[in-house]
Every structure is written in structure tokens, then in C-alpha cells.
Symmetry: C2
Subunit: 686 residues, 2 copies
């Protein structure tokens, strides 16, 4: 065994030495954990990395990525060739060994790196298993029963998102989740006790976890394996936390020191390691035959796992043909053909909060299409995402004081007041297998700032998650500026792959959901209002939402295009009318629900909608700050600072969004425009 | 006592009933806590709300703001008149009773509302006291010894930022901090056990807190007072957590129910409450004389506190005249006059990472001006913010494994891997008293997304915090897209009051710090590079940074203005040269360190710099996404998606930031421009 551990450690040291970059220390300290996981404990299939029922492994301490890459190589993942392993930190843009594990690559479940995210992702993966198992397994047919293993470092234990995840996973009693804590007590600044002296085990127990200690995680592979085996114990009632003492950079001169974390050890130190092991100090990247043979059975073991599972699935299909068909459709990420027809064709004409429109549009889909799992960060009464006969996702034996029982079959998730972990868990649910589960999260738009790091990770990974952000704009009202997201849209409009949509009424909400459900390149956020919005029936068009912006009201010989979006869409219509009636100004009206979708349109369409190229200036009305609108508009009625605590009916006027005031300012701007006072490309704040 | 509690509860119920809006439940449940705090336990002075040594009170569950407003009224804060109290949720924009407590108003220490922030703020306040006490107190002269009291609700306990704060405060042994947990076990979705079943007391103990239970927090004022008194116990070695069982909306028909949280109880229910108390059901907003007299001694008690403290300060000034002068300067937020001269006048000419420039610029100021407290989220070796003889802020009796001892006098803060709480604690440090402590935080720029909710709260409150964000842009390199902040600048450039600056070399870093230290309207973020940058000596000008953008290189009869910023500033210089030499195109060069500062310049200056109004198009080079640049540029060489894991020396080329490629594309754009192919206001991605 020692030679296996030594080989692994020296490989890591050499890999970092190669280009003088990388994170050697933790990976080296975790050598024994790797052997225990990949050789003994995990169920996986190197030849079929996406085997549906494989155990999931998440490296939350993603900087230790060499730990994973090297194990993928040793255990026979085909894409991870020797050349690929050597490409870590090389100039190759097609390297499968980026600085943190990335979901695109074989054998990697999720992209990690920002610390603590991985724990939450793992919770999502384990929830997915629990849910699919509860939904599809039948006596004798555990077709979904994979385990989720998550490695965490000292840093992950400190991050808030990790704390939220631990608390929630303990509550959920995720017995199919094992977290392995690489407890080396070293972080960048020095020893962990410089900043963290909590009793970790006690804290984890308080959070509802079973805790096991492994005293020697450096060499005692057997102890680790035996701890991991407890993870699979069918009688366990809690998720398992294994606190493994390791030594960062073990075997090197910097063992146990912070400097072992993020810099190569240096040529001499690596040579000294080799010498201490009795190895040839000149030989680099060496894998002895006995080590190769140690790992050689894994590919065939993987094939056996897949074969057995396929057989199980075949019998299951015989015994439960209909259920098995549903299961296969879910595996393939197929939605039922008829989901589109569940969207109402027409809506009530009275003023409706778009959060309610949202419910009108999706509640039937949510109720009837089991692919969706809907959740909220404790805003059930506000976000309007419950649906007929919804069942809560909770441990079946939990009887809350409020009486609302659930089960793992439930698809409505009470995340608690934990926005960040909600979005990160949703990433895990989505990553379990493409479109097998489509998670929907919800909260006030403002609190998607708490969730932003996880939303970003979803965007980076192109994970299909739909976020429903309610109470957008200053219309959130009396809750005040802490709840009024004047600048947050800039983040989501600028985030690659992220589809941020602000629909203006029920009709546009319908269009937004069609786009959201079909969009496959990342997360979508549907941003809706708290307060009632006029329904612009006959003007708004659901199918036009997909184009990002469209002409709501054309006007021949127009002097100006007035554009608005979302909760304030009707403002543009009112202002255009006022301009016509009181100022003799003809205005076209454009609805602009999504920057991204509009930018993807051909230039010809963009010009047709905006008409700036033929000399008609465009004005945007939106009570967010203007940043980003300069691309589409020449002037804007926007927020210039934070909001204010005022009830909804007063706040728009307070900030100058009354129709007559806006019309006057736009009129003034047009005079300046005609007089040539406005330079090309200049944007005027009205 | 019962009449006091009843009066308080009915006032809250009436206040919410008045306009049919508000959060009555928690405030009503917390009535006894209010009496215990304001009548018995807290040291404060209604006539002098900003008395330096007052106890600080933070309402982390900010939606329960009526709890605080009503107590401010009852205890005699002058600004909180009867009319003001009645203005809660009215149409008055000058109401002192916004939907969440706001720092601008008398008696409010910090704006709260986004849950969990308040806990972290309170930790910052308590750290400020510890630090000032350790620095200025002398035997017999406890001139700074105030206590910090923080109310939290069930939600605050779940938020990640709260978890981070608890863990760190326990580590710091903040004996001057008491957290009072309004444990009503109800949140919006129902009973808390729907989503959280952790053993809170055990978890808090594990985090290093002393825990006291109060079983009847509804009526047993005496038990609460006795628990609070333990908060002041000078022999305590840990921060104190008081777990107080309360009942949301107690006394009403919705007592103990989620619906009591955020909606008024309704006329009949309020009447029923009054009836049950034996009160006149028609009478609203009634305060019996005995209640008035119950609170009547508080103003004079406050005057006495201030008087005694002033006397103490006078003797202290006699005995320690020099120290007292320093203390008074700190109280007044005065920086020593000579800080500006500590900034070097010249810098080495060799390529320098701007994170290192940053150190060259501020390390002397940090070492010599005690106003600054510097911290990092575990990136000491990366952010380069240590300074000569720096001392760590840590409990004096803590001896970490790494040996690095500290004390409360220390001004270097190891926040751990807790970016969010770092920024939130910094807000607390800054809010203790204006400019008495100026906190500096630091991390990789990307991880200011984790910290963003707290950075925003600092901006909203105009708190003077300086954030040093290193490893900005794709230059972060091999760490990959999880660490490359392509879209984050859009958030900080759009955030009101936030001053985001990307300096281009050491000279501009010097300018950035001058601006940052003088800026008084909110936080500043200085965004610097990991990798070495050419020093554009003779071109860059420190004093021009204050203008946001300036001409780096003028050119007569120019065809184009090439603009760049921060780590890529030299790209513009190189591209201009290439355009001239290879394409016969004359280019002006503009450095653009800050959108906000530039937007604040007169239009005449903006036009002088950009010259777009005289027909010269502007092109921006920045490896962030383009959003926001459309205001200043006609075209851009920007990122179109997320980054990639590649070492720094390869990544710029990978994304098309080679000089020749950029010059070619700019040349192509200029042809299109001349040919009139680009519509007015259109922005072209090159």
C-alpha cells in the first residue's frame, strides 16, 4: 500500500513542479482517501462515466483537483490519458485538467472552486437520489440507490454556504450522503486555529450528522475504508461526517505548513521526498507496475456494475413497464410533449401582480410534470409557487409542529432562510443528470444577491435551473432600500449564459416560461412584481418574449421610441399617450423583457425594433440604475441611487415615475436632441 | 409590568392596523425583551444618541423594526416623536420609521433587513469596542467599555452569514457581545422545524458561546433581565447567547402562527386582543400614564451616564494628555495630516503586480495610522496587505499552532475563509463611530461576490470601508473561470455610492488610495492584478485618477480613441502604437480607472476626454463583459463569456487580446464606422 501512496504523492509533486504552478499540498495529504474511495468504496464505471446510478463524487475543495485527476487516470477513465494528466497548468486550452474540476470533463460531476459550493452541490445530488428512489424504486428494484461522497477542506467548513448546507442536510436526514473532511488544520494564512477554534464534531452533531473520527488519514487506508463503509450502512439515520486527520504536503519539507497549499515544493524538496521514500531522485512521473496492477481491476469492476444495473433495469421494465418508461424518459431528460398546452391561452384582464401571473402560468405544469422540483427560501406565501396537491420534500418520519408532513417523493422544497444554499443545491439537483430534475428556486429578487455565487456557478456550468425572483424593482415598496434591487439586474444581465427576463404582464409571463423551459444553455431567472400590473391585452405578445424586445405599439413618423420592461411596462404606454396628447410628440412603444435574447437577434431585427439607426432616439423607463441600457437607449428614466421605504402606491411618484413628469422630461430631452446638444453615443439621465 | 407589555403589544398591533401593512408578530412577541433591554440592561442616552460609549443595539431581524421604534419613542429619543411613530408605512418620505431600521435615524446603529447581516454587524461593533478598549483604556479608566446587544430571529440563525459570524465571534471570545435569540419557532413558511431541526444551543456551544435559556420570554421580564445581566459579567470568557422562547403575535388570535409575521392582524383580532386585556376596544394608540411614568426616568438616567463618562474622560485627559488627544481625534474621525505624504512619490520602473503596487502605496500608512484595521479572508500571502510589525487581532490568550499570537490591540484581522462575514463585520467596525476605525478588507475580486450582500449594505449606509480586490480580470489565470470575474465589475459599477477603481500601475494605485481615503460617501473597492504590469511612467498620473478617466496620450487628428483600464491599461498603449505603425491609424489613448468618478465630472470634461461628440469613435479594451461600457465607447474588445483555465501568459491571447489581433479588429471597425455602417448609439463587440 505504501508504494501506492508514495506514487500518488510524487505524481502530484511532479505535476506541480512541471510548470512551477499548482496546489500540491492537500492532494498529497489526501492520498489515502483517494485509494479508499476509488479502489474500495465508490461504485462507478470508468468506461461509462455517466452511468446513471453511479456514486457521485464532489471535490468541494476544488483547488485539490489533482487529487481527482490523478485518481481518474489511475482508475482508467479513458479521456484522462497520460498526456492529459501532464497538461495540468500547461498552455493547452483543451486540457482536461483545469485549475479546478470542471463539469464538462469525464468523471467530474460538478465544477467546484469557490469554497463551500461543493458541499451544497453534494446535498443536491443526494436529494436527487432520495427523490428518484422514492419515486421509482419498487420492492426488489433499487434502480436508483447511488451514494454521494463529498470531500471538503478546512475552508469549506468555514464558508456560510457550507454551514447552511450542513444544517439543511442534517434536517433532511440524507443517509446517502457522506462528507469526508480533509482535516489538515492548515489554510493559506497558517494554522486554522488562527481564525477557527470551534468544536467541529460537536457542531456537526448539533446539525444532525453522525460523526466518525479517523485519526490517521495519512496512511491508515483501512481505517478510512472502514469509515466510508459506514456511509453505506442501510441502518444509518443521518448523513455521515468523517473527520479525517491528514497532513498537508505530507512527506515533504513543507509538511504541515501553509506554504504547501498553493505553490510547488521546489525541485530540491521534491527530490528529498523521493530520497526519503527510497526512490530514484532523478525519475519523474513514475508509476511502478505494482501500482498499475493495483488499479487494474477497476475498469472491469465498473463494467460489472453497469451490467448488473442494466439487468436490474430490464427486469424492472418487465415488471413495471409504464413506470420504467417514465423513468427512461426522465433519464433522457424528456419533458412530456404536452407541457406547452398547459400554459393558459388567455388571462384575466384585471390588474394582476406578475408573481400571481407566474402562478397562473406554471402551477399546472408544476402539478403535472414531475420533472420539476420547486423550492423557496421561506417565502411560500409571497412567491406563489405552490400548486394543487403539492407534496413537501422532507424526511417521511418528520412531523413538524405545523403538521405539514412530507416525504422524499415530495417536489416542494422548504429550503429555510438559506438563499445561497438553495441555489447551490439546485445546481446539484440539476447536475444529477441533465433535465432529469429541473429545479425551480424562488425568493425576492434582492435576495438573489445572497444566492449570486451559486447562481453564477449554475451559469458557468450551463445547468438548467429556473429562478423565480419576485418583488423586483422599487415596487417592493415599504420594505425599503434593503429590499429594492436597483442594481442587481446589472449583474444578471452581464452574467454569461444567464437568461434574465422581466415579463410585463401575464401574457409575457407565459412567453417567459416557454423560453425558460426550452432554454438549455444555463439558468434562467424570471423576475416578477409584488404589486398588481395592468394587463396590456392586445399589445403584449407571448411569442415575442423570445426575441428579447419587440414593438408594442408602432407609430408612423415617430419622434421617439419609449421603452419599458417588466413591472413598469405600462408606464411606457401611458407616457406615449401623454406625449401625444399633451406635447404633440409621437412615440413608438417597445417592450424589452430580456437583454440577452434581444442581443441574440440579427442586427436587422434589432434595428427594426429600435430604429435608432434611422435617427429616432430611444428612451428607456426602468426603476433600476441605467447601467447596461446605454446599449439600447439614448436616454433613460432610471434610478440614480438606492430606493426608499414607501408603500408601493407612493414610491414611484417619489422617484419621478409619474406619467406627466416623465413625459415632460422626455419632451425636454427631445428638444436637446433636435438642437444637436447631445453628442453621438451620449446617454442622458432624465 | 403586565400593563407595560400590553401597551407595547397593542401599540404595535395598532401601528400595523393603521395603514393595513407591517410586521406585527415578532415585535409583539418580543415585548418583554424590549422592557428588559431599554428599561434595565442597556446603557444609553436618549438625549445624546451618539454618545461614544453607549451600548450598541442591533436588530438583526430588522422586519421587527416597530420593536425598536416603539422603544425609542417610549424611552424618550427626541427625534422619535409621536407623529413620527405614527408615520410607519405612511406616505411620508421623511418618516423615521421605515420598513427596516435605517442608520440615518437617531438611535439606530445600522441598517438591517437582509437577514443575518445584523449579527455580523454586531460582531464588528463588539470588535471595535475590544480594539479601542485595548488601545486606549488604562487602569481605572475604562473609557471604552460599552456592550453590544443583538436581537436575532429564527431566520438570522439559518443564514450563512450568521453562521460565519457566530463561528468567528466565538473564536474571538467577544465577551462584550450578547446575542438574544427571539426563538418563536415560526417563519414565513410555517413552523421552523419544517426546515431546521438542529440543536441550536449545542451548535452555539460548539462555536464557543456561552448559552443561557429563558423559558418564558413572553412575560418573565425578570428572567430576561437576569440573563442579560450575565452579558455584563466581567468574568465571562465567551460571548453570550440567550435562547429566549417567545410566541409570535402573542395575545392575538394568530399567536404562534406564520400569518402573524408579515400582515396586520385585522380590526376584529386587534379588538379581541384589547378585550382579552380588559382594554377599551375602541381606543387606539393608547399609552396609560403608569406606562409613561414607567419609562420616565430613562432620559435622566442617560444624562447621568454621559455626565459620568465625560468626567472620566476629563480625568483621563489630565492623566494621559497625549493619549487622550489621540482618542479625541479618533472620536472625531480625524486622520493625521501627514498620511498623504506617506504615499511614495515614485515607484520602481520594472513590471509590478498591482497587488504589490498596492502594498508599496499603503503599507506605510497602515503601519503608522492606527485608524486602519486591515483584514483578509485567508489570503494573506496573496493580497499583500501585511505591514511592518503588524499585530494580529485575536484574543490575547490564544496560542495558535502556527505560533502567531495576537491581542485585541492588533489591527490585522484573519477573518478565515468567510468573505461574506468579513464585509459585514467591516460594516460594523465602520459603524461604531464615523472614521474612528476605517476597516480594509481583502480577497480575490471574484470572492467579493460572496461578500456582495454586505458590500451593498455598506454602500447603502455610506459606510467608510475600503475593499482591496486582488486577482481581478482573466489575468487570474490558471485558477480558471470560477476565479475570473468577467461580470462582477458590472455589479460594483452599478451599485450606488460604491466607488470601484481599477488602477493601471503603481502611479494609478497611488491615485486610487488618495481618492479612497478621502471618499466619504460609501465603500471603495480597489481592484488590482495578480500578475506583473508594465509601469507607464510619464503617462499615468495619480491625480487624474480622481477624474475617473483621463487622456494618457493625446494625438492630433486622431481617428480613434483607444481606452483601457487596470491590469490591461498597457494594452491600449500597445494597440495605439500598432495602429499607427501597421495600419496608419492615429489613436488617442485614455485610461479609465473609474466609471463613477468620470460620470461625476462636468460634461465638458467628459467630452474633452472622450471626443465622441466631435466624431472620434472610442474603443474600450477590458477583459470583462462589455455591459456598462456602451455609455463611453462605440466598440469594445471584451469578454463574451466566462474565462478559461490557462496560465496568465497564455490566457490573454486565448481570448484575442494580442496586440496585433486587437489592432486589426479596431481597424476593421473604423472602416465600418467611416462607411456609415454603424448606427448612432450602436455598440460593436470586436
Amino acid at each position: 500500500m505504501q508504494v501506492v501512496l508514495q506514487t500518488f504523492r510524487l505524481l502530484i509533486a511532479d505535476l506541480c513542479q512541471q510548470f512551477g504552478m499548482g496546489h500540491p499540498g492537500s492532494a498529497i495529504g489526501m492520498a489515502a482517501l483517494g485509494v479508499a474511495l476509488w479502489k474500495y468504496s465508490m461504485k462507478y464505471a470508468p468506461h461509462e462515466p455517466d452511468w446513471f446510478n453511479r456514486d457521485r463524487f464532489v471535490l468541494s475543495n476544488g483547488h485539490a483537483c489533482l487529487f481527482q485527476y490523478t485518481n481518474l487516470y489511475l482508475t482508467g477513465y479513458k479521456a484522462m490519458t497520460w498526456e492529459q494528466l501532464l497538461s495540468y497548468h500547461s498552455e493547452r486550452p483543451d486540457s482536461l485538467c483545469p485549475g479546478h474540476p470542471e463539469i464538462e470533463h469525464e468523471g467530474i460531476e460538478l465544477t467546484t472552486g469557490p469554497l463551500g459550493q461543493g458541499i451544497a452541490n453534494a446535498v443536491g445530488l443526494a436529494m436527487a437520489t432520495k427523490h428518484l428512489a422514492a419515486t421509482f424504486n419498487r420492492p426488489g428494484y433499487d434502480i436508483v440507490n447511488n451514494h454521494t461522497w463529498c470531500m471538503v477542506g478546512d475552508a469549506c467548513m468555514q464558508e456560510g454556504v457550507g454551514c447552511e448546507a450542513f444544517s439543511y442536510a442534517g434536517h433532511l436526514k440524507l443517509t446517502n450522503l457522506t462528507v469526508i473532511y480533509d482535516n489538515n488544520q492548515i489554510s493559506c494564512d497558517g494554522s486554522v486555529d488562527l481564525t477557527n477554534t470551534e468544536d467541529v464534531n460537536k457542531k456537526m452533531e448539533a446539525c444532525g450528522w453522525e460523526v466518525i473520527d479517523v485519526e490517521d488519514g495519512v496512511n491508515d487506508v483501512e481505517a478510512v475504508v472502514s469509515a466510508l463503509e459506514k456511509g453505506r450502512d442501510p441502518n444509518r439515520e443521518k448523513p455521515l461526517f468523517i473527520n479525517v486527520r491528514t497532513i498537508i504536503g505530507v512527506g515533504s519539507a513543507v509538511a504541515g505548513k501553509a506554504v504547501a497549499h498553493g505553490v510547488p515544493f521546489g525541485k530540491d524538496n521534491v527530490a528529498a521526498m523521493k530520497k526519503a521514500y527510497g526512490w530514484d531522485i532523478e525519475r519523474t512521473f513514475y508509476i511502478p507496475d505494482e501500482v498499475k496492477s493495483f488499479y487494474s481491476d477497476l475498469p472491469s469492476r465498473g463494467e460489472q456494475h453497469v451490467k448488473e444495473w442494466n439487468q436490474l433495469l430490464a427486469s424492472y421494465s418487465n415488471e413495471y413497464p409504464e413506470l420504467a418508461q417514465t423513468f427512461k424518459d426522465r433519464m433522457e431528460g424528456k419533458l412530456p410533449q404536452d407541457w406547452q398546452w398547459m400554459i393558459p391561452q388567455a388571462f384575466p384582464s384585471e390588474a394582476t401582480p406578475s408573481r400571481k401571473s407566474n402562478s397562473l402560468v406554471v402551477s399546472k405544469i408544476l402539478a403535472q410534470v414531475p420533472t420539476f422540483m420547486v423550492g423557496t427560501a421561506d417565502l411560500t406565501p409571497s412567491v406563489n409557487l405552490t400548486y394543487k396537491d403539492y407534496e413537501i420534500f422532507n424526511p417521511p418520519d418528520l412531523v413538524p409542529i405545523s403538521g405539514a408532513k412530507g416525504s422524499y417523493k415530495g417536489r416542494y422544497i422548504h429550503y429555510g432562510i438559506r438563499e445561497h444554499v438553495m441555489a447551490a443545491i439546485a445546481n446539484g439537483l440539476a447536475a444529477y443528470s441533465p433535465r432529469t430534475i429541473i429545479p425551480i428556486t424562488s425568493s425576492f429578487f434582492m435576495f438573489y444577491l445572497y444566492a449570486a455565487p451559486a447562481v453564477r456557478m449554475g451559469a458557468l456550468q450551463k445547468l438548467k435551473v429556473i429562478h423565480v425572483a419576485t418583488h423586483d424593482s422599487i415596487g417592493a415598496g415599504e420594505d425599503g432600500p434593503t429590499h429594492q434591487p436597483v442594481e442587481l439586474a446589472a449583474l444578471y444581465r452581464s452574467m454569461p449564459n444567464m437568461l434574465y427576463i422581466r415579463p410585463g404582464d401575464s401574457e409575457e409571463v407565459a412567453g417567459a416560461w416557454k423560453v425558460a423551459i426550452e432554454y438549455d444553455d444555463g439558468p434562467c431567472m424570471i423576475s416578477v412584481s409584488r404589486h398588481a400590473l395592468p394587463q396590456l391585452q392586445g399589445l403584449t405578445k407571448r411569442d415575442s418574449v423570445a426575441k428579447g424586445a419587440y414593438v408594442l405599439k408602432e407609430e408612423k413618423d415617430a419622434h421617439v421610441t419609449v421603452m419599458a420592461v417588466g413591472a413598469e411596462l405600462s408606464f411606457a404606454v401611458n407616457v406615449a399617450k401623454e406625449l401625444d396628447e399633451k406635447h404633440g410628440i409621437k412615440a413608438r412603444v417597445v417592450s424589452f423583457p430580456s437583454h440577452k435574447l434581444f442581443r441574440e437577434q440579427p442586427l436587422s431585427y434589432q434595428r427594426e425594433v429600435l430604429q435608432r439607426n434611422v435617427g429616432i432616439p430611444a428612451v428607456i423607463i426602468e426603476p433600476y440604475v441605467s447601467l447596461g441600457w446605454e446599449r439600447f437607449a439614448d436616454a433613460g428614466v432610471n434610478m440614480k441611487g438606492f430606493g426608499h421605504s414607501l408603500p408601493g402606491k407612493y414610491i414611484y411618484n417619489h422617484f419621478g415615475f409619474e406619467t406627466d413628469s416623465m413625459a415632460k422630461r422626455i419632451g425636454g430631452f427631445l428638444k436637446d436632441w433636435k438642437a444637436g446638444n447631445i453628442g453621438r453615443g451620449e446617454f442622458v439621465e432624465l
